[in-house]
């Protein structure tokens, strides 16, 4: 589904160049729920922004399905973002002037794909994520958790190959966080979505099938959940983070 090979990215600050990604390689399979963890400055968000095509990588290979993203022009990239990727941001990025339902429909409207079926899917997503009762409300009238579930529904409206989530629980309380993670699980199980999530939160990451831990711009360790219980997996994640801190 997603192949990242030897990805490198550096930022120029004044005359100094800082290499943030120093050759990251990973793969995400269809239907997988993968998290990327790591301390601040490890390159998590940069990796996500490169995969999202928001910023260009310096070198390396990024393939979504059979499409190599670096070879696409501006319009083709926009189409990939619209039709093959779904986005969930830390601060939701809903448009204040649109209702919950209209926000969910937005990627379809941008792609010119709105039909009766699309509207029905929006309503179905509202049902799945428990936001049907607020679908005619505006973002200013709903809670943070509801906003993020709206964002998850929006990310799914175009049947994307991959959902990219940047700290989706970062701005939420624990109850709302649980609701958002549940919505990812539902998306995975009910809608067969593939999810790639960047997070600091070991609780959120413990729901994933696999957790990639980044450190100083490289993959430090990958933990598979397998048949491990969620609580146990969270402990393993915390142990790994502690171990990383000791090294």
């Amino acid at each position: 589904m997603l192949t990242v090979e030897n990805l490198r990215k550096s930022y120029q600050v004044g005359k100094t160049s800082y290499e943030v990604l120093k050759g990251v390689s990973l793969q995400v399979e269809t239907g997988e729920f993968v998290a990327v963890m790591g301390p601040s400055g490890s390159g998590k968000t940069t990796l996500l922004n490169c995969i999202s095509c928001y910023i260009p990588a310096d070198s390396g290979r990024l393939c979504l399905g059979k499409t190599e993203l670096a070879r696409l022009d501006e319009d083709a990239l926009a189409e990939v973002r619209n039709k093959q990727l779904g986005f969930v941001f830390q601060d939701f990025l809903l448009l204040d002037g649109l209702t919950v339902r209209q926000n969910i429909l937005l990627p379809a409207i941008i792609g010119g794909l709105v039909s009766d079926m699309t509207e029905a899917r929006a309503d179905q997503l509202c049902e799945v994520f428990g936001i049907a009762g607020i679908r005619d409300k505006y973002p200013a009238e709903i809670s943070g958790g509801e906003k993020q579930r709206t964002a998850v529904a929006r990310a799914l409206i175009n049947h994307p190959l991959l959902i990219l989530a940047d700290e989706p629980t970062g701005n939420l309380d624990s109850k709302s966080s649980r609701a958002v993670i549940r919505s990812f699980e539902q998306a995975k199980s009910a809608l067969e979505a593939t999810i790639f999530m960047v997070t600091h939160d070991s609780y959120a990451a413990s729901f994933c099938d696999r957790v990639v831990i980044l450190r100083d711009g490289v993959v430090w360790r990958t933990l598979e959940k397998g048949a491990t219980e969620r609580e146990k997996f969270q402990d393993l994640l915390l142990d790994a983070v502690r171990e990383m801190g000791r090294e």
Binding site: N49, S52, Y54, I55, E74, D75, A78, E79, V80, R81, N82, K83, L85, F87, F89, L93, L94, L95, D96, G97, L98, Q102, L105, L106, P107, I109, I110, G111, G112, V114, R154
Partner: protein
Amino acid sequence: MRHFSEVCALMRRKNKKQYALLAGCCFFSVLLITAYVCMMRAPTVLNVLPEGGDSRKQVMMIFALAVIGCAVFTTYAAGLFLRQKSRETGVLLALGASRAQVWGELGRELGVLSLGSCAAGAALGGPLAWVLWQFFRLAVVDSEEMRLTFDPSAYVLSLAFSAFVMVMIFFLGRRSVKRTNIIDIVQESHKSEPIRDVPRWYGPVGIVLLALGGFLGYMSSSFFILVLHWYPPEGLTAVFYVPALIGLYMILLHTVVNGWNGKKKLYRDLIATSQMRFQGRQTVRNMLVMTLLIAGAYFGSFYAPMLGTGSMMGYDRRPVDYAYHFRADQDIPLEAEVRALAEEYGVTITDFAAVPMLRLAVDGNDHIEEEGPVGTTWRTEYLEVLNSNLFLSASGYEALTGERVDLAPGEIRGVLDAEGTALGFRPDATLLTNYLTKERLAVTPLEPLRYDSLFERYVMNDGDFARLGAGLPDEWRETQVCFNVENCAGTYEFAKALFNEIVDRSTLDVAQFDGWDPVVRDRDIAKDGFYFLDRENCGSAGFTVIDYGQRDSSAFRLDWQYMPEFRILDKMDFVKTLAVFLILFVFIAVVCFSAVFVIAYTRCMTIALTNAKVYDDLRHLGASNAYLRRSVRGQVKRVFLVPALVGTGLIYAFYVMIMYFNGSPAGITSSEAAGLLTALAVIAAVSALMVGVYRLTLAQVCRALGIRR
């Protein structure tokens, strides 16, 4: 909702205040510029602003300021609009909208908004100018020459400015969508506008540079011309004002970034100062434009009170109620006719004197301009026959003034005004010539006399007067008449009748521009074949063509060589005579102050828009309403107060400097002092208005931030 344009329409509805703010700014700037241009290019105004004259230069200078001011605040408003818009642009791009798709909608919105607001501004600018002008006509003064006519070509400038606004908005809009990094666009609205650290010496050094630049800028022209005998090219002297501009920028930068309180009130002003600092670049730019506009507006505002006070004091200071002179070959009313006319109007003449004067040639240094490799230079060349002046005998002077002057043969005394101002008249002739008989007399100039109504005359010994006057024809002789009346204030009708009688009976031979000189004329014709002040050349040389039919026009009253000086007539007709000047400058002040108020209001509302989250955070940290209000007041006050103080102080100091150096000798006369006091009264009135706008703005900002009164 299924189409992208419907999404955009919904967002427009949601953000209608931002659209209204940008449209309002475009409309207002084009409205002001159009109104200004319509006024500035109106034949009514151009007729009274001589080509190349100081008044026209001032009007152009303030116009340039107004254009810069309006351009800056429209650009600022567009930038602000796009910054606020950037979040939704970023979201749309992040969700897969193409740039062409986003630009298609945004471009259409900007096109409709800018075209509509600019067209409305341009369409209403002319009517606004007309309404304001009519208001002034009704409220202040009305005269024939005040009828406002428009020149359609004025709209070319208005259209050019509208085009600039539209191109600028499109350029900024296109640029905002074109940015490649979506992350930057998404986070655009959270970005502050940092400025580098500003050393604390910026403040004092700025003040020194400001003072130095003002002084150098004003004095450089005199230095080049009087000391180096060189006419600098247009614009060179403006370079010397550059340190003033740099100094002004440094002062504002220091005020915004460091403040003037040092560390005394560091914690009390922490929030206000910090927030200002992180929006420093835009704030300083806005404040700089506001300062210059305030200075320009005051420059316009001071014109009327300075001129009015000075002129009124001059009329009151005149030693006689009625004074006029005429060439001896003219049939102008003398004592018998004047008394008869006075009787007709019930006016009592208390004393009457009419004495002869001679027009004699005098020596002096001719001012010769030469073109050379460095431009135009000048030198002087002594000529025994330079130009001509009017001469009174000592007894004649005594008859007119009651003041006895003892002059030995060969002695002369020039006459300055009561304040001893020379105004270009140098009473230092040493050789007099009867231009017709060529009889000559070497003379010694003594200490000048002072008498307003006889300014620029000479007084000479009676014997010399008789000898040099022998053989002079009537064209070279004049009669000076002075008389007083009882209850001068009640003699306007008589004054008007006598003035009309004098004009009606003057022939075209004396329809001459003030300064016309038969001696200079002969020399110029011999040299160049024509004399620029001859009636037929006046118009093309940019001087008023004296037309007896236009006797009530300001041009006629200011420029006719034989214009009588009747105290009551001049006083009563002063406003009417100079109405166009007065109203033009008042109008300019209105335009500039309006621009200042709009810029300040927009800037302050930006504080509310961009800092709303900061005030929410402060509230969460337990800040009281009073604390929040004080913090907002600190910022709003700085936006208003600093440009107002600096702009006002700057222009007042500049005016004092002009008043001090413009006379000879340097100094401030009593009429100038009175004018400066009146200007202070104008400052007080405008400041009161500014305080009103400041309070209104503060209330609006507090309301937007949810801060109670």
